[in-house]
Symmetry: C2
Subunit: 226 residues, 2 copies
């Protein structure tokens, strides 16, 4: 029988989002468990697992701590009903994250430089369509104001990618895949439009961007830039 150590609040409330992940994952596998509530001041209950935080599970001979490692353990010990779903859906998520968060944070930082590099014949089109979106056609002024605030917001938005890239060379794992190409597209958009440096050299996203520029005989690196 698996034991799950679960954070407990007053009146047996169970709030921990990470413990909920573990409970969903156990249910997904159709596994039963023995519940062991742990308060913030009862860390001695999980000391045997060399853990300071819940969830911890005890499944057979050795304990597993950390919700992610628990999910991986369950998928390898109980291979029926894989937890990780079709890769296509997840790549779709990353693409939507790029469109709905990264591009949104990036566009105000680029829009003036983008406008300056649109072919003259196309500038009226850009002015009308992007002007409507931004509520102004003073793209240089809009960009200047955005840059005054700095690129911290853009860098904050990259946090999920940063965390993944601390652990593995590409968003898709050991090899690049569509998730990488989605975020790579955003960086090439910026690179072609503006000399503005978006990343600090010690940011884990920085060496990944270098790898993306090198891919396919340096296709991205060779692109005509700002």
């Amino acid at each position: 029988m698996i034991t799950l150590y679960d954070l407990v609040f007053q009146d047996d409330r169970r709030p921990s989002p990470f413990c909920w992940r573990a409970k969903f994952a156990l249910k997904h596998k159709g596994l039963a468990w023995r519940d062991e509530p742990v308060g913030f001041t009862e860390k001695q209950k999980i000391a045997f697992a060399q853990s300071q935080t819940v969830p911890v599970i005890h499944d057979g001979p050795k304990p597993v701590k950390d919700s992610w490692d628990i999910a991986r353990h369950l998928d390898s010990a109980y291979p029926e009903k894989p937890l990780f779903g079709p890769a296509l859906s997840h790549a779709r998520f990353v693409a939507h994250w790029v469109d709905g968060a990264v591009h949104l944070a990036l566009f105000p930082l680029l829009v003036g430089d983008l406008y300056d590099r649109v072919r003259p014949v196309d500038q009226p089109y850009f002015k009308e369509s992007r002007g409507k979106r931004l509520g102004t056609t003073d793209f240089a002024g809009f960009q200047a104001k955005a840059r005054e605030k700095g690129v911290d917001n853009f860098r904050a938005v990259l946090e999920p990618a940063r965390r993944v890239l601390k652990e593995q060379p590409f968003l898709s794992g050991e090899q690049p895949g569509y998730a990488d190409y989605s975020l790579g597209g955003a960086f090439l958009w910026a690179r072609v439009a503006t000399p503005l440096e978006l990343l600090l050299p010690d940011d884990p996203v920085h060496p990944w961007r270098e790898r993306m520029l090198d891919l396919f005989d340096g296709m991205g690196r060779k692109a005509k830039v700002a």
Copy 2:
């Protein structure tokens, strides 16, 4: 030979992030293509594809528009070297997005109610550890201030999930998977801690949350709540 219609700026610059996705995807498959630059005012060039935007590719008998559909087309027409990488890495990305963006936006809205529901014996621990993180131990005041600004920021952070859930019932596809459990954990954290309503009824995330509460005989719905 595949033709790729690619957005062009001055001096043959190619900025479009979506066209870059298509170029990376073509290279990933080892496919060559004929390049067809398209300015903003040359939409007639892609009219044959019933598209208003690039990228468009023309591969054999029929055109394919939209960078996502192009990726799917390439993966189905050229199954070698799949574009979508191991599902595990992508689920990891979603988990990191929940930790590094969703939880971050949610915590200030909950922290006062969370504190009130910690077991009295554990409250000093919560006060010290979370106080350090927030720079204050006035959790009620911190929460009130966060709620004054409203939940719009939290809802904006959910945008990538919202876009996926407009297209399919779960983040993992037709069936729930670990990506869903990660985001589900965040909503259960909130549900157990506070009666604050986080979602508008017409938000596509709303029916997904209902489905998550119903999963596994209503495990989440039955949890003791605020």
